[in-house]
């Protein structure tokens, strides 16, 4: 090659070009076979393919390709008989020594020397297939283990929480102040342990790819109202005011109601948790035609009349007057095990799994979740966009962000 030359002609001599091509074809770690499209007989073959076939040129050239590749497709070739394109398809290779391998092959139909030909190239993926099998088995084993552990852990927890609750409610006799207080503490810890177990199980199911959507029809307005009830008690204890801005009409949704409840509960619980006493937490919903985007989304915007159709999007917004989020926080908070820097006085418990799980559940619906904050102690706003009708066939955002 002449440096500084504009020409793409790497091979001033045709002989050099043929040599280059032959070298590349013979030494590429890819099997290449040229096949006559009518007779399915091998016309040409490279060294790598011969290695895989465990034979020599004289045996391979002229042989029917199905003797070696895709033996089960003989007479039913997807390309010549079904007119399909074969691009990166897995199939079987059988060598002359009856050794089987899984290969990944691509086929191009072309004309060479006046003949219609198939140019097949393939790579060996046996190791990949084996690794895949091992990974699937390991995943199944892990999933079974977790399922059993979940049951094992919840059984004694059921006893701890159940018996303590019966005694604390003084159904079986009065308690003095200290007894009541200590048992109440036992109950609190028991419930905390339960939420940890639930989080761990949920997260592991997500990792195993098992968190599936189970959509049903429900009224979003009713769900929002009920969600607030769950956090009202805790909020009242800290003098935090909770408010809801929702339409005066029902909003039909087709989504996984339990997961939407979990999403809301997580955001509301966080809002209450990270807001100092006397603050405020507001929940609002907007209805839009197109998907709400960060920056342009408007909270609490809905028409006086219910929307005529079932299409469109909802935007949930949980706003709090709490400790806010720094720029670094905003980047990290949706990662698993990340928690906001806790240099405040109130002890914030938690596993750091909540937002990561929440994001997964939002993503499953094809929605998005994002957070905004004007800075430290300036409160935060968490937005969740969800389609009013989840369509598991639709393209979903890869990670809900």
């Amino acid at each position: 090659m002449r440096i500084g030359s504009h020409t793409t002609d790497l091979y001033p001599m045709k002989r050099d070009q043929r040599h280059f091509t032959k070298t590349v074809l013979d030494f590429a770690p890819v099997g290449i076979v040229v096949i006559d499209a009518e007779a399915h007989r091998i016309i040409d073959i490279n060294a790598t393919a011969l290695d895989f076939f465990e034979t020599d040129r004289s045996d391979a050239v002229g042989a029917v390709c199905h003797n070696f590749i895709c033996p089960n497709s003989e007479g039913n070739c997807p390309i010549t008989d079904q007119g399909k394109r074969v691009d990166r398809a897995e199939c079987d290779l059988v060598s002359r020594k009856q050794r089987h391998r899984r290969i990944l092959k691509s086929v191009v139909v072309t004309t060479l020397g006046g003949r219609r030909c198939l140019v097949e190239s393939f790579v060996d993926i046996s190791e990949l297939v084996e690794e895949r099998r091992r990974a699937e088995a390991a995943s199944r084993a892990k999933s079974d283990f977790l399922s059993n552990m979940s049951h094992e852990l919840r059984t004694p927890l059921n006893h701890i929480i159940g018996f303590t609750e019966l005694v604390v409610d003084q159904h079986f006799g009065e308690l003095n102040a200290v007894q009541a207080e200590y048992l109440s503490d036992v109950l609190t810890s028991g419930r905390h342990l339960l939420s940890l177990i639930n989080d761990i199980l949920d997260l592991s199911q997500v990792e195993a790819g098992k968190l599936a959507l189970q959509p049903n029809f429900f009224d979003m307005t009713a769900l929002l109202t009920n969600s607030l009830v769950l956090v009202k008690e805790k909020a009242l204890k800290h003098g935090i005011k909770v408010s809801l801005k929702a339409p005066p009409y029902a909003v039909g949704m087709l989504a996984d109601e339990r997961k939407v409840k979990q999403i809301l509960y997580n955001l509301l619980a966080n809002a209450v948790k990270f807001t100092p006493d006397g603050g405020a937490v507001d929940l609002s919903v907007s209805l839009t035609q197109t998907r709400p985007e960060p920056g342009t989304a408007v909270a609490g915007a809905f028409a006086a009349e219910p929307p005529g159709d079932e299409e469109g999007w909802i935007l949930l917004c949980v706003q709090d007057s709490g400790i806010g989020l720094s720029k670094t926080d905003l980047e990290r908070i949706f990662e698993p095990f990340e928690q906001v820097d806790q240099s405040t006085e109130r002890h914030y418990e938690g596993t750091g799994l909540g937002l990561s799980l929440t994001r997964q559940m939002v993503a499953l619906h094809g929605g998005r979740i994002w957070a905004e904050s004007d800075g430290e102690n300036q409160g935060s706003r968490f937005y969740v966009s969800l389609p009013r009708q989840v369509n598991s066939n639709k393209e979903q955002t890869p990670d809900g962000l």
Binding site: S150, R154, T155, H159, I160, I161, G162
Partner: protein, 122 residues
């Protein structure tokens, strides 16, 4: 007023004891079975007003026990709850097919469950 009878089918002694504590508060008569076969036997013998059925039992699962009980059309009308430490989609599917009152996830929310029991046994 005649008090109602509740059958508890659970192989774990503390599970049974906890349910016993709750059932005492709703003044129900109680029957206890430690496995599926006994659960079927006691149902046929005493025709309880409500059955609390653990899903995981040593000899068969709760769904099989209910199938067995339902072979008798007279017993098929008895209301029942499934109780389990781990509700899976599979359980939900099977339970829905059988027409139970619901699947209760353990740990049980005691106060709520007691209210539910009161309503059903009224």
């Amino acid at each position: 007023m005649a008090s109602k009878t509740v059958l508890v089918v659970d192989d774990n002694v503390l599970n049974r004891k906890l349910l016993e504590g709750m059932l005492q508060l709703v003044q129900a008569r109680m029957l206890f079975a430690e496995d599926g076969a006994e659960g079927v036997r006691l149902t046929r013998r005493h025709r309880p007003d409500l059955i609390l059925m653990d899903v995981q039992l040593p000899d068969m699962d709760g769904f099989e026990v209910v199938s067995e009980i339902h072979k008798d059309p007279d017993l098929a009308t008895i209301p029942y709850f499934y109780l389990t430490g781990n509700i899976t989609a599979e359980y939900r599917r099977q339970a829905e097919g059988q027409g139970c009152l619901g699947i209760v996830q353990k740990p049980i929310a005691v106060a709520e469950f007691i209210e539910t029991l009161k309503k059903i046994l009224a």
